[in-house]
Symmetry: D2
Subunit: 165 residues, 4 copies
């Protein structure tokens, strides 16, 4: 499932962060292209495909100043298993170095708050946000590397810091 209707990216409602010294907001990242990888640590498709993809994209992003990769741990099932302490061990074992936000649990049900605000259907989901803070692409399931690269690449050349890699 791919949505390309453009809309403003809601703020990230985050319980805590890993791999960053200070909490991040989309507002602070305005002007950069942001790719958010929504995952659960016990989701097989995330572990086999989406997290390795996010790690590779992060390796590219850390060499430029106009692209940011964020993880979003949005637990909507097995809440007792996928706690922040379990996530911390997971990030260590899988060598995940990009910033990861823990989506804030909701009092009303199993779906955490950011997941609800973005209308995510499950994990893995990939959200591409442009320099202006608009959601340009939102996909559920395994995202092809070439397709993701094309979408992100087209946004990188769009702004003041653009130009081919």
């Amino acid at each position: 499932m791919v949505t390309t209707a453009i809309s403003e990216a809601p703020p990230l409602d985050v319980e805590r962060w890993f791999n960053t010294d200070m909490p991040l907001t989309l507002e602070v990242l305005r002007g950069k292209v942001v790719v958010v990888h929504a995952f659960q640590m016990l989701c097989p498709g995330c572990v086999a495909h989406a997290i390795p993809q996010a790690k590779r994209l992060h390796e590219i992003a850390r060499r430029r100043d106009d692209l940011v990769v964020l993880g979003l741990h949005c637990v909507f099932e097995h809440h007792a298993a996928m706690t922040p302490i379990a996530l911390e061990a997971f990030l260590h074992e899988y060598r995940v170095a990009f910033p990861v936000a823990v989506d804030r649990p909701s009092a009303e049900g199993p779906i955490p708050r950011t997941m609800a605000a973005y209308g995510l259907q499950g994990t893995p989901s990939t959200i591409v946000i442009d320099r202006a803070g608009l959601i340009v692409r939102h996909s559920f399931g395994a995202e092809d590397d070439l397709v993701l690269g094309l979408v992100v690449g087209s946004l990188l050349n769009d702004g003041p810091a653009g130009g081919p890699q």
Copy 2:
């Protein structure tokens, strides 16, 4: 690392079982070839290679009466993350259908009891036990499918229920 010095398989010291109605013992399984896959749910090499291999071997084993595949969850690190409740979610999400034993924690240190008794170096480890209860092969790290198949196949033809598949 591969050990092929033949020795008697120590008993499994188990805190609890998943995917079996009653606790299993090697004694009860005497007469069958038993392949024990020792893993941790947050071990990347286990998730990417050893557990899928064990699942495929289990699919073969469930069609015959002389071969058994067992999982052994031997947690020696990140104990707070890899609890039995987390393991239960993991087994569900990864569709692991073979019996899985939770290695009994030790009061003396991080290494659980069966892991210590077998002298396992880490996870994944694969232990092949013959019909007489002897350890025929013990390997640490990713085990090649062809090599494992050859070892197990040579044991299956060894006893009263033998013969080519």
Copy 3:
């Protein structure tokens, strides 16, 4: 090896074409982004990685009018084995649907003419040409999907037919 020094793409010197009704030239394709996959049919890295990548990129390209994928069969070894008739069977068996040019053999040595004009080091090589006919990137060896996608994406948003996919 990656070269990013920008220079004008030399013309393709072609003995014959497959998968196109009429011969193609870079001049005719001016205004589009062109990705040239240089390969040999008996090159393992081409068969395992580069040709599948080119096929996936071609699937994307055929749904838009600003991107073209071309194959270039540049035989510089085993000339007696990799004849056009053998290539034709190869393209059929591997379901290659994008246009493939047979690089024109040289009278002076084993390196065919287009390969020499582009200074290719071997196969697989990937050449990305922008809408103006300039070589933006030239890489030898397996090219990462994400990296290729980013480079091509940044060029697609550059011209009159641009915009996110």
Copy 4:
């Protein structure tokens, strides 16, 4: 498709051999387990799966004296492309070190002689022959490593040179 009806292996009718100093026959190999990988050099399933599997099995076989891996190049289509000279380049590029027989073409049609004698349905096909020269298993299509290992392993323990690896 898997056939397990046991029958005597017909002789190999061979035009020429690669990777062996002298022609081989099944008769000479009697007493060993023989695995014959029937392939075509332009068959994608052979290149992606069956030949790498045969190479790995050959690496195991060369360390023991009771197991032999043979390739059988049985060209039944694209005869002009898959000549012995093209095969020679292929074997070099793909680092195939096990002996490969070129199946003898037939005057009566496109199917070569050994392929016809064995009733192969296509490529890749895998034929497992026991120490007595009987076909124990004959499969068409990608053969699972574990399954092949189990079948071969059960035969290795069967004879005078048996015993676990």
